[in-house]
Amino acid sequence: MTREKLKRIGLELPMLPTTTVGSFPKPQYILEARRKFAAGELCAEELKRDEERATREWISLQEEIGLDVLVDGEMYRGDMATYFANNLDGFKISGLVRSYGNRYYRKPVITSEIRWQGPITVGWWQFTQRLTSKPVKGMITGPYTMMDWSFNEYYPSRRDACLALAKALHKEVKALSRTGAKIIQVDEPAISARPEELSEFAVEAMEVVTKGVNAYFITHICYGAFEFIYPEMLKLPVDNFDLEMSNSGLDLVELFRKHSFSKDLSFGVVDVHSRVVEEATLVKERIGKGLKVLKPEQLWIDPDCGLKTRTRDEAVNKLKTMVKATKNVREKLDRKA
């Protein structure tokens, strides 16, 4: 099992490791700094200084909360696709596109050959890892999601675009690994968009990204529709699937009963779309449900998705509850053993 892999790459984690999906809410001064930077009133170094300050704050908060595997909190990112598009060759950014209601966003546009110009997230990973003795995850947006969330004006097909992205992102993954990242998360929230493409090229793309890199790979998938890609999605060459569970009514558990889940699972136990902080008993119940279909060695505990849309207090309180509930379950498991 992958517990052995963790050990092999030199990571000692407690049973039911706690972590988060990636993003945290940005403090007011970051929002202000980003606005000023966009308006040309702030230079890149000043913005970066603020981003580093916010990252430091989130690292100490995560340590205080007692999480086992930390993230940098993505203080330096706007949108998860646009951030990488801005830092790879081959992309432009589109005009405004409607997302829902009165919400509009700009989409990456692939206009020429996609190429990795050099490290994108490595500097942030290194900065963050130096602040803590806990492992920090390397985080990238996966090739399928980058492709699905971009306009494609250059490659003849979705497959070609996806594989070109995979090659570029493989270089980022290698750079993260060389710098010392042992856990690398490849976010693929869009992977269930067109289920038939999983076997057509999404699995192949993930193979390209991860090939030959000695790290524990996690992929984060959300927005439901797992019933269309399960169990096929287990073919994705990663060690751990990070899935949205509490927002989906936990029906995945039923799915796993039919076809057992063969990898590790980061089990989303708090709903990031709700302001309400879950009761510890509810979180414990959710973990309990996970343990009914998975061995404790397979299970990691985290929120459904990134917490960036919650307030700082909501995020912190949700995580505190999550850690407390996990510790309780751990103790129970210990007593049993």
Binding site: G95, L96, R98, Y100, N102, K107, A193
Partner: protein
């Protein structure tokens, strides 16, 4: 054979220019209680005029109102019905657009006409034929949460009754060509019987007007032979999902009007004229003399920036002109 150009539904309500922000600002203003419902309606009217004007300027033969007033194709209907409430956001098929999902808790009752007023306004201000767009009963039912229990078929049937009344009102208001959208059937072929019964019911209200059934966001090839048997006047197809759909249409033929979604409504890449012409040269002779529309694969309002949407339509019109010269 006649080749016309048409819109497939929505049109971007804002653009990137400073003067194209009115809708967005008014929407926010209304949310914050800074402008009244009447003022907001005024802006919606103005932006609808703008959307129509741009379609006409691009050279389209058949236009829509751009669906400027729609939150999304599902809740725009459901929110005006008794027996359901509108829930949170859910991804609209495989796109990055989100719709608000209806939750059905009681028998559905239509309180009044949903599209009639919008259609009458749009028809009035347009110099080109105005095509109303109606979301079909099957798609409405499929994308709802049925919390009251009972059969899915019953729910489809209730939506079919409501949409039938809508069609009836639109026909009375002067609609000559009505687009009914049923994207959901493509991924759920097992439901075809229920879907077919709903279509049959809706078509019963069309009188002398024509109903053209649009599917998109999927490959229609596997269902094509069944779709052309439906009692509708035309079929709209999305050609961006499969290379084989062209072959299927050419081999099977088509004795109905056809909406050729050869212009990718979800990609900013402007179509290459020669490529579209090559397909038209193959498809048009297979149409048994019926009218064809060259149109985007889906509505543009949620998937493209406004500037690109306009360019796409212009390019499409120019391609259609070439195709007519060749033919």
């Amino acid at each position: 054979m006649e080749l016309l150009t048409a819109s497939t539904g929505s049109y971007p309500r804002i653009g990137d220019l400073a003067e194209q922000q009115r809708h967005r600002q008014a929407y926010a203003g209304r949310e914050h209680g800074e402008i009244s419902e009447e003022e907001f309606e005024q802006v919606q009217d103005d932006v609808t005029r703008e959307a129509i004007r741009e379609q006409v300027k691009a050279g389209l033969d058949v236009v829509t109102d751009g669906q400027v007033r729609w939150h999304d194709p599902i809740s725009h209907f459901a929110k005006k019905l008794e027996g359901c409430e509108i829930n949170g956001l859910l991804r609209f098929f495989d796109t990055n657009f989100y719709f608000r999902q209806p939750v059905i808790h009681d028998k559905l009752v239509r309180r009044g006409s949903i599209l009639k007023r919008e259609f009458v306004f749009a028809k009035e201000v347009s110099s080109k034929p105005m095509k109303p767009v109606v979301t079909g009963p099957y798609t409405l039912a499929k994308l709802s949460i049925n919390q009251r229990g009972g059969h899915f078929r019953t729910l489809v049937d209730e939506f079919a009754e409501i949409i039938t009344q809508e069609i009836h009102d639109l026909v009375k208001a002067g609609a000559e060509l009505i687009q009914v959208d049923e994207p959901a059937i493509l991924k759920n072929p097992a439901d075809f019987q229920v879907f077919k019964e709903a279509v049959q019911k809706v078509v019963g209200a069309k009188g002398k007007s024509k109903i053209i059934l649009y599917t998109y966001f999927g490959d229609a090839a596997p269902l094509y032979s069944k779709l052309i048997e439906l009692p509708v006047d035309g079929l709209g197809l999305d050609f961006t999902y499969s290379q084989k759909l062209v072959d299927t249409v050419v081999i099977t033929g088509c004795d109905k009007e056809i909406g050729l979604g050869l212009i990718d409504g979800r990609n900013t890449k402007i179509e290459r004229e020669s490529e579209v012409l090559r397909i038209l040269e193959r498809v048009l002779p297979a149409l048994e003399g019926q009218r064809a529309y060259l149109n985007p694969s889906c509505g543009l309002g949620e998937y493209l920036p406004r500037e690109i949407a306009f360019k796409k339509l212009q390019n499409m019109v120019s391609i259609a002109r070439k195709a007519r010269e060749v033919a």
